[in-house]
């Protein structure tokens, strides 16, 4: 084993050992990433179900104004709507004019007001509600469903009276067969599309955020605790020191990201009820390129964070520098989600951060476009090299030693 490799692995091993001895760190960087998606996939549907059940069980108070309709009244009652009848207010411009009912809707004395009027042209209605109240919105939704069913019955009755077939009259153009069979994309490709909308963002944000703590601990933390000077006295170069620390931070971060992705894949395979999310079908080449993209991204982000943390004189200062820096990852990550990948220009794949995120999206769709791969691979290696060079400069600064005392 060469001296260089021995230095780097010894430094990296020690950093990892020291890091994992703190159980709080283990929970933050290993347990939480592993469990976050399974927990989300179990807890979110449970929460949504319980909220929906709670709303379903609610008896909602609705004021009915104007003309009465027996069928509609029965339908409302079956939907757990408690009705109180009133005369139609006078002086309304139209039925949607809230008029004097504004206050009682805002105060939720009644969840909604239903207005109905029959004239020579047929039935007219409106529902007054407040969209910021769940109960009011639910009352509106229940009434709309009942009205829609009643309307269908009215329409069908009219058509039958006119000797017309409701089905052929109302639905003369029909989709033949199962529409899902008409999609040329496989289930795996559809799953890839769904995952491509958030996996790159998850990887980017988690890599950047989980590297912050170890980066600070191994640089500014060492300076603050006074361990850096002893380390700089050892017979290894500062570049070897940087490489060892980089390897440790990258290993810890990679473990966190890998566990998070593992947890996500477990959740979508065994816990997700949606037919949209599933296991993507990706070629071996795409997987390899995807891994390459993640590694290059990690090289760049970890080197950059190590450099920034080393620039700081204390842990507090490093936190102040690196905390806002995460925004430089979050914004491109959000921005990249809305870029249309069809006929995208190659220059997009040369923009820092955006290039890797777009590459991950393309690869999750199993699209390997040589020109794009060449651009993002070359540009990313250049950016990663620049980040490493910046980090090396910070590690070679003389005041690293001079300012310790």
């Amino acid at each position: 084993m060469s001296d260089s490799w021995r230095f780097i692995t010894t430094i990296a091993k020690k950093e990892v050992v020291e890091f994992v001895r703190d159980w709080r760190t283990l929970i933050a960087l290993i347990v939480i990433p592993l469990l976050i998606f399974p927990a989300l996939f179990i807890a979110l549907p449970l929460l949504l179900q319980s909220e929906a059940a709670e709303l379903d069980a609610l008896d909602l108070d609705v004021v009915w104004q104007g003309d009465y309709n027996d069928e509609l009244s029965v339908a409302f009652n079956e939907s757990n709507i408690v009705i109180s009848y009133e005369e139609m207010p006078i002086g309304l411009e139209n039925l949607s004019d809230i008029g004097s009912d504004l206050d009682r809707i805002r105060n939720q004395e009644a969840q909604a007001v239903f207005r109905l009027l029959e004239d020579e042209s047929g039935w007219k209605f409106s529902i007054l509600y407040i969209s910021t109240s769940e109960a009011s919105t639910e009352a509106r939704a229940r009434m709309m469903t009942a009205i829609s069913e009643w309307e269908s019955e009215v329409v069908n009755g009219t058509l039958v009276e006119a000797n017309l077939d409701p089905e052929t009259t109302l639905n003369p153009v029909k989709w033949d067969g199962n529409w899902e069979n008409a999609d040329a994309a496989t289930k795996g490709e559809q799953a890839g599309l769904a995952l491509s909308l958030f996996i790159p963002m998850v990887i980017a944000i988690w890599t950047a955020s989980s590297a912050i703590q170890p980066s600070i601990d191994m640089t500014a933390g060492e300076r603050e605790r006074g361990t850096l000077e002893a380390l700089l006295c050892l017979p290894c170069s500062r570049i070897q020191l940087l490489a060892g620390k980089w390897l440790a931070v990258a290993s810890i971060t990679s473990a966190g990201v890998a566990l998070q992705i593992g947890g996500l894949l477990f959740a979508i395979t065994y816990l997700a009820s949606s037919s949209i999310i599933g296991v993507p079908s990706i070629s071996t080449m795409s997987i390899l390129l995807l891994l390459g993209a993640v590694v290059i991204f990690a090289v760049m982000v970890v080197a950059f964070e190590l450099a920034l943390a080393m620039k700081a004189h204390s842990v507090k200062e490093a936190g102040s520098l690196l905390g806002p820096a995460i925004l430089f990852i979050i914004f491109p990550a959000l921005f990249t989600q809305v870029i249309n990948l069809d006929s995208i220009e190659s220059w997009w794949f040369a923009i820092p951060l955006v290039n890797i995120l777009l590459a991950m999206r393309e690869l999750l769709l199993d699209r390997i476009i040589i020109e794009h791969v060449a651009v993002w691979l070359t540009s990313s290696i250049v950016y990663a090299g620049m980040a490493a060079w910046f980090a090396a400069r910070q590690f070679n600064r003389e005041d690293l030693v001079a300012s310790i005392s």
Binding site: F7, T227, A230, L232, C233, E398, A402, S403
Partner: protein, 275 residues
Amino acid sequence: MKETLLTLTGVAKSFKEIEALSHVDLEIKSGQVIGLVGGNGAGKTTLLRLMAGVMEPSKGRILFQNHPVSSMRRNLGVVPESTGLYSRLTAWENIRYHSRIYGIDDEVAWNRVTHFAKMLDLTDALSRHTKGFSRGMRQKTALLRALAHGPDILLLDEPTAGLDVTSARTVRKLVSQLRDEGGTVIYSTHHLAEAEQVCDRIVIVHNGSIRADGPPEDLLKLTNEKSLEEAYVSLTSDKARPRIEDDNKESKIAKWWRLFLTGRTPKIKEVDESE
């Protein structure tokens, strides 16, 4: 015969426009304990860091047996003032981490460490995390760590600062024993009595330059004083400069922001005694 290990020729060190050290010429021979004595900010730590090869001199050269010292760090053992121990590692793990980087087999390092640990009464603590260690135990562990790879020169920055009487005595005893075994130790301190007790040769550093260099009795002859303390005062009679780092660290923006937030420190008013 004593061989020359370390040679400093015309060494100067500047931080931006401030000269921390100037015109330092020193020759360190094997089997000596050399005390670097000086007040706070005199330049002792900078001189030690230059000798340890973690800083490059602005002028002059530092050679370890005719090679640049930065490429010969393998032959040095350094104990910085801060000791630099990792609190989540045990004492032995701290020592092993460094000795592995020096390329020393774990067993060899262990044997060497246990030999010195007995002298320092630290054997039982080797398997304990250093988090709860006292200052004295930390200093002793750092000493063991610096000795584990068998260095030719041991550089100690204020090794007894903040230690209780017993621990300081143990450290001094170890240094004396190392000298007796033919070892070379460079020892920075601002305690003259300690330097007189332990060192064969005293180098007085003041305001970034060497004011005297020689055995204690030579310093007395040089100054015609009766005690080393009086000799030191006579050699360093000019006012000590302020520590170089203090004002130098703060950028213009940081200074403006500090003054904006907290205002200036009030000036001391001259009191007219006749009033």
